[in-house]
């Protein structure tokens, strides 16, 4: 019954999405303008139905209803409850349902809370949301129905990929989806504004909280995904330039650029066409990300259930939405009035510099990710583009971007004097010079990129706090605090990355019980190996005694787990965090008698990478709260007047 109810709710939600689009599109023409007010309630109903459908699927997973194909192939009655629930979106169908549900909630939120925007632009936005949702409903209903039954029902399910039985799974995909959906709302706003030619500060202010929200979620998603890969895969790295990682990085780069350009549009009414284009690009990157992940056209460490028809479906949606938006852009943008102009040395100039660099990095990542695909399509040659390309091309650009980020907030809007800027930059420059000196004295010769990274991080850290100097801190608006903290987070993150690549110590040894090995400041001794049974796995557990100098030793337990359902081996790394870095131990299953293969890393200050990510997201959150307070509630106050005008 529940599966059928969920399926019915999904169909009804699809009908509502169609209605939402039709009412909106008709309402925009003068003949049917009395349809205008009905669009928003339809969006709300659509979102409620999508939620009901998703809740039905969760119930099916919680009850382990094996007569439902999706539950039988992805769950198991032995699984802990948390992973049963997380299993709902740990598969293709469920994750697509989660995506349309979040999309629906996004649309409903616009319908209920957006008051500042002209009603015609708002309705056009909701109509665009309706079309996007409709495509994904069709995708679910026709090629990925999560509610399909099987008869006869199997006695038990096939479990969930053990790598995914991790608390990270419970949050990682939903977080990224919130980000993607936020970009879809920004995209719909851009379409709405193009349709009504209403591109200006009001539109930018309406769109900004969505971009900020999406950007926060993408930042959290990427940070968490990076840490997950770091501790779960047991490879000791935090970023692998894997296509699926790139698929989440590209929307983030576009969203970061958009976040800055929309600020220019909201504050100075400049960069109109560029902001519209970026909103389209940011959403297209989200969709391309989904496509790359789901179609399996690129080889990746993330193995998802792959099906060419699904890939085809997403590709068609991608072509329709983004192609349509880009055509609309080409047709309409010429008729949108040009915004204000500005001087090169100005806050706007710095933000344009930021946008150009971010876009270039985006292109670098996109080209690197797709080059193997394009090459094979044209010449049949196979190759893979790896970290050396990305690091050597994107790395230096990211560092230049950091310099821009240091200077930008210290510039005045419209016009500034170069000499005055240099004076404001004096302290950060001195700090960077000091950092160079310290590294030269205490560390000695270092690879160039990590060295520059550390130096830039020192300068940026100082410069990012500079906007707070000589300010009354209690009267500084929240969004300025947000910017300061986010920029500081970038410096912290860069420092962590540079420290990790410059100072990491690594050892790979085959150890017998009783043997010791030195790595960094630690001496690691293999004390014992035992077999440990788990709920649905058994593990080879290594007891390692770790001692630093003369201080008290402590014990770490890396494991190599063998899962039963489905059969699979994973390594559970053991990580000890100190104030100045992490010790990372991995044990493998021995292949001969030479000993247990044990890999160890000492990674100084590696934690700063994710701490920086958290700071960036926190900065975004402060900014969001500040903006909602200022933009949205100001909209609320003028609510009555606006409705009468419409």
């Amino acid at each position: 019954m529940i599966a059928e109810a969920g399926h019915a709710a999904l169909w009804l939600a699809a009908v509502m999405a169609l209605l939402q689009f039709t009412l909106g599109a008709l309402g925009l023409s003068s003949r049917f303008k009395n349809f205008l007010p009905s669009t928003a309630p339809t969006a709300v109903v659509q979102s409620v139905l999508a939620c009901i459908s998703f809740i039905c699927l969760i119930i099916l997973f919680v009850r382990s209803d094996m007569s439902v194909l999706l539950v039988a192939t992805n769950s198991h009655s032995d699984k802990p409850m948390m992973y049963k629930i997380a299993g709902t979106w740990g598969n293709h169908e469920g994750s697509m349902l989660l995506w349309v549900t979040i999309l629906g909630i996004g649309g409903a939120t616009v319908a209920l809370f957006e008051r500042a925007l002209d009603i015609r632009t708002k309705v056009a936005t909701l109509a665009a949301q309706g079309v996007i949702a409709l495509g994904f409903y069709a995708f679910l209903l026709f090629s990925s129905n999560p509610f399909t039954r099987i008869n006869p029902a199997p006695a038990n399910g096939q479990g969930l990929n053990p790598l995914l039985q991790d608390p990270g799974l419970a949050f990682h995909p939903p977080t990224l989806y919130m980000g993607y959906v936020g970009m879809s709302v920004a995209f719909s706003f851009a379409i709405g504004a193009l349709v009504t030619r209403d591109v200006g500060p009001a539109f930018a202010r309406a769109m900004r909280p969505w971009i900020l929200g999406a950007w926060i979620f993408l930042t959290i998603g990427i940070t968490a995904g990076s840490y997950w890969a770091y501790y779960e895969l047991g490879w000791g790295g935090w970023w692998f330039w894997d296509p699926v990682e790139n698929a989440s990085l590209m929307p983030w780069l576009a969203a970061t650029a958009l976040l800055h350009s929309v600020t220019v549009l909201a504050t100075r009414d400049s960069l109109r066409a560029w902001t519209i284009m970026l909103s389209v690009v940011a959403f297209s990157m989200s969709m391309i990300g989904t496509f790359l992940v789901r179609s399996g056209i690129l080889t990746s460490v993330h193995s998802f259930a792959v099906d060419p028809t699904r890939g085809g479906f997403i590709l068609i949606l991608l072509a329709l939405y983004i192609g349509g938006a880009m055509a609309l852009f080409a047709l309409r943008i010429g008729t949108v009035r040009e915004g204000n102009r500005f001087e090169a040395v100005s806050r706007e100039g710095a933000l344009v510099f930021n946008n150009l660099l971010l876009s270039t990095i985006l292109v670098v990542v996109l080209v690197g990710t797709l080059y193997p695909l394009a090459l094979e399509a044209t010449t049949g040659t196979k190759l893979s583009v790896g970290a050396p390309y990305f690091n050597s091309v994107a790395g230096p650009m990211a560092l230049i971007l950091m310099v821009g980020m240091a200077v930008g907030p210290l510039l005045k809007w419209r016009y500034d004097k170069s000499k005055a800027v240099l004076e404001r930059m004096a302290v950060p420059i001195l700090l960077a010079a000091l950092a160079t000196l310290l590294i030269a004295i205490f560390v000695g010769p270092t690879a160039i990129l990590p060295l520059v990274g550390l130096v830039v991080a020192a300068g940026v850290a100082a410069a990012s706090i500079a906007p707070l100097w000589k300010r009354n801190l209690r009267r500084t608006p929240l969004f300025t605090w947000g910017m300061v903290i986010a920029h500081l987070g970038c410096a912290v993150s860069i420092a962590g990355m540079a420290a990790d690549s410059a100072f990491t110590k690594e050892a790979l040894v085959a150890m017998q019980i009783g043997q010791s090995q030195k790595v960094g400041p630690y001496t690691v001794t293999l004390k014992n190996i035992s077999e440990i049974p788990g709920p649905n796995w058994s593990a080879l557990d290594a007891e390692m005694v770790v001692q630093k100098g003369d201080s008290a030793p402590f014990i770490m337990h890396p494991q190599s787990r063998t899962f039963r359902d489905p059969p699979m081996e994973t390594s559970e790394s053991a990580i000890a965090t100190a104030w100045n870095g992490q010790l990372y131990l991995v044990v493998g299953i021995p292949t001969d008698n030479s000993g247990y293969p044990i890999r160890m890393w000492w990674k100084p200050f590696v934690t700063l990478i994710w701490l920086g990510g958290i700071l960036i997201a926190l900065g975004g959150l402060l900014s969001l709260i500040g903006r909602i307070d200022r933009d949205l509630f100001r909209g609320f106050r003028s609510f009555g007047r606006k409705e009468k005008l419409a």
Binding site: G323, F329, P567
Partner: protein, 175 residues
């Protein structure tokens, strides 16, 4: 700005779509050699794809008789092309067992009635986990397993009529 330039993003996007479509229509044949050649069949137990009782597991191997393990799927077009060669192998005395990947009973039944059924048993591998355990990266792929359950040879891609005598010879060699 010239109006033509406004179409540049659209043009770039269309190029991208073309690359994606090419990648979808003509998927890369990533020939990945299995590391299991020369080693025992990995542990697995699959329910039967058509009759849940008649499944396939590592116990099915090592009974003294060499077998051909064919990894296939009803949705796989090259598998249709491969079907006659498999029938030929069966008719020449080879025992063929199958692993159906990402498949459904109704689709599989239709596939077998249209293309013939050379399999003495078919295991159902809906998430291709057993396939991965064998080190197989795509469909169709065929493994020659000797009488003691050791994987002796991996054939990636379609078995063409020309391959039939070669594979028969490999089977005979490990008898």
């Amino acid at each position: 700005m010239k109006r033509v330039w406004l179409w540049a993003p659209f043009a770039i996007f269309i190029t991208l779509i073309a690359v994606f479509a090419a990648g979808l229509i003509n998927p890369s044949d990533r020939v990945v050699a299995s590391g299991l050649v020369g080693r025992a069949v990995p542990q697995f137990a699959l329910p039967g794809a058509l009759d849940p009782a008649a499944g396939l597991s590592n116990q099915s191997f090592g009974d003294g008789k060499p077998k051909l393990l064919n990894v296939f799927a009803s949705w796989c077009i090259p598998c249709v092309a491969e079907a006659p060669a498999l029938m030929q192998l069966k008719n020449q005395g080879a025992e063929v067992v199958g692993i159906a990947v990402h498949d459904r009973p109704d689709a599989l039944q239709k596939f077998l009635s249209e293309n013939g059924n050379p399999y003495s048993a078919i295991g159902d591998d809906p998430q291709s986990r057993t396939q991965i355990a064998f080190g197989s990266a795509g469909v169709p792929e065929t493994f020659v397993v000797d009488g003691s359950g050791i994987i002796r040879h991996q054939h990636v891609g379609i078995i063409t009529p020309d391959d039939v005598p070669i594979i028969m010879a490999k089977l005979r060699a490990v008898e």
